[in-house]
Amino acid sequence: MPLFLNDEQTMLRDTARDFVGENAPVANLRRLRDSDDATGFDRALWKQFAEMGFTGILIGEDAGGLGLGHVEAGVVLEEIGRNLSPSPFLSTAVAAVAALDGTAQAERWFPGILSGETVAALAIDEGPKHRDGVTMRAERAGNGFRLSGAKQFVTHGHVADLLIVAARTAGSDADAEGVTLFAVPADAAGLTATPERLADSSIAARLTFEGVAVDGDAVIGEVDAGRAPLDRLLRAGRTGASAELLGVGGGAMDLTVGYLKQRKQFGALIGSFQALQHRAAHLYAELEVARAAVLKAQQLLDAEDAAADQAVSVAKAMTGLATTLSVQEGVQMHGGIGMTDEYDIGFFMKRARVLAEMFGDANFHADRVARGRGY
């Protein structure tokens, strides 16, 4: 398979580019922020995503989806990133779908995701840095379980219909196994969600579970064997976040290069200064390399290749590095106007920071690559 988009994927990209650009440009984020919107995204727009078929990209055709892959999901995510569009697409249509796929829970939740009714949130992180370990407990109680503990950085966690929760049902905190993944309805008793506004104006919740009772059939996959669906979720989420980061980095670069061609100082366009040209060209190179890493991870995931795991970490780390550079250089090369709230470049910087932390930052993933390679 060549490492570039085929004709159908290019068509989908163009469709997504038009759709997101028209319906959810950066101005949309600014409007949501200025109106202090408490949801964090636009539900009507989420419905439109569904009408476009986007929410079913990773859902099989037999279940009413498009039966496409991570390359296609990434194409949409990149446009979401480029436009800084607040959307539950990554958590719901990508990560949650990957976790639910092939389990008994799919039948229950896929229709809502397909129709744009359902929003899913991922209760995975337990501390301010993403880690592989799970310490939150789920004790057996009757036919079901009682969940106790806390999660944080749960995007849309305060308004989601479905929470995907990783909890420990066996073993000790350090063990990789012994984890079970639960599909928890948002209205479960004993569950408190405290929304926190983040730097990029998105909202993530801190969740506390105080003996939250769930049925046995809330288990995604098998009890004690949640590592498999959790890994599916993480691989999809990490790859998707990489694609979105790539969009953020690319959007920031476009804005910056555009500015270099328009701003005059010393009687010349600042883009004619070699010091800036070289930095812009270096930035371009970093983003091209990041783009390849993302596409590689997507293709390997779609091919269910054993090498996908490393490729996913390379993609997340590389986009973290490249996009961080892009937004930093973006603000610097805009000069003073780059520091103003009125101008958009700062929005890119804030979004990049949040996405960089999501599902593990560049250091976390570089470390994973190192371990995988035996050092």
Partner: protein, 392 residues
């Protein structure tokens, strides 16, 4: 089974049967690289066997047309052949400026007679080529070159000096930029080929910081060059030169890929050791290597993407500049890390255990990566102007 699957199976079987075991070992020194040329006495028996067998199939240049000594393979087949060679760690049977630089330029700009004359010899490794571009006062500003070619009826008379001519002292022929019109800059350059054994050609080696001297000053004193050896039109050599440079940059960018991180990691583990958790005991070195590896693995994907796009005619023509820039900076970073990992062992210059200073010399050699074939600064200029379309 698809045609490609069949091709893969047959290729695998053929390589298995024909690639000598000695040619499946990693390249350690310059001596392991086969450059070909009139003087084949330099080749070991396995090198010669491997070259001849691959050349007989046209697989030294798998995607060139068969009539020019190539394999006539499609892009997909070529990729597959490379994969199968990589699978058994087969060495490249032949390295040459003919394959990576002159060949593509001749395929595009050469006359049929020139193609039939030169390409098959390149494919079989019979003629070793060198590149006569740079001059003492024409480096980055290559178009200011002064070596002149005077019209003398059916031939030119070439006078002047080149510098940095890699392997000029071992090359059989040179592809050379000469000035045929002094009144304009780019528009007065022509591209000619001639035999290094021609009367009036002489070379003088230049010693590098690595202690090696594969580079030369090259002097031309009334050298007679037949007009049939002009490639492209008179005074239009700059187009050929630029096209060829694109291929040179493409080739050099491959350095970012050479070796990957394996040797680096092994070297670091051997010198630094591991901590209680089995991780490299120097945490900062470990972090630096890990971040390097992220970039190297991402660049490997980018190289694959670049080749795929190139084959499909989708790559921006200035993209080789980006690849050259990134690949060479990455390669330099790898060698800098390998020196850091090697510690005092790596700075030994002559000892037997250091293989005659192999690590140190290789490290020093890589410092030229971001100079040769056009400096990193020049590549960034090209990306800025031609891809990002920045002004001035």
């Amino acid at each position: 089974m698809s045609d490609l699957d069949t091709f893969r199976e047959e290729t695998r079987a053929w390589l298995e049967a024909n690639c000598p075991p000695e040619m499946r070992a990693p390249i350690v020194s310059e001596k392991d690289v086969v450059w070909g040329g009139r003087d084949q006495s330099r080749l070991t028996a396995p090198q010669k066997t491997w070259l001849d067998r691959m050349a007989a199939r046209g697989w030294t240049v798998p995607d060139w047309p068969k009539k020019y000594g190539g394999g006539g393979l499609s892009a997909a087949e070529t990729k597959l052949l490379r994969e199968e060679m990589a699978r058994i760690k087969a060495r490249s049977p032949l390295n040459s400026f003919g394959i990576s630089m002159l060949g593509p330029a001749l395929l595009k700009y050469g006359t049929e007679a020139q193609k039939l004359e030169h390409l098959p010899k390149i494919a079989r490794g019979e003629i070793r080529w060198c590149q006569g571009y740079s001059e003492p006062n024409a480096g980055s500003d290559l178009a200011s070159l002064a070596t002149s070619a005077e019209d003398a009826g059916d031939h030119f008379i070439v006078n002047g000096q080149k510098v940095w001519t890699s392997y000029a002292d071992q090359a059989d022929w040179i592809f050379c930029l000469v000035r045929t019109d002094k009144t304009t800059k780019q528009g007065g350059i022509s591209f000619v080929l001639f035999d290094m054994a021609s009367p009036g050609v002489s070379t003088k080696p230049i010693l590098l910081i690595s202690g090696y001297s594969p580079f030369c000053e090259t002097f031309f004193d009334d050298v007679k060059v037949p007009k049939a050896n002009l490639v492209g039109d008179l005074n239009k050599g700059w187009d050929v030169a630029k096209y060829l440079l694109g291929h040179e940059r493409e080739m050099i960018s491959g350095m970012g890929l050479s070796g990957g991180g394996d040797a680096l990691v092994e070297g670091a583990l051997a010198t630094v050791g591991v901590d209680a958790e089995g991780r490299l005991a120097d945490p900062l070195l470990r972090a630096q290597i890990a971040l390097y590896e992220v970039r190297a693995l991402a660049f490997a994907a980018q190289s694959e993407r670049f080749i795929d796009e190139l084959k499909a005619g989708q790559a921006h023509p200035a993209q080789p500049s980006m690849m050259k820039y990134y690949g060479t900076e990455l390669n330099k970073a790898r060698h800098e890390l390998s020196m850091a990992a090697g510690g005092s062992d790596a700075v030994e210059w002559e000892s037997e255990r250091s293989g005659g200073g192999r690590a140190a010399r290789a490290w020093l050699r890589t410092k030229a990566n971001s100079i040769e074939g056009g400096t990193s600064e020049i590549q960034l200029n090209i990306v800025a102007k031609r891809i990002l379309e920045l002004p001035g």
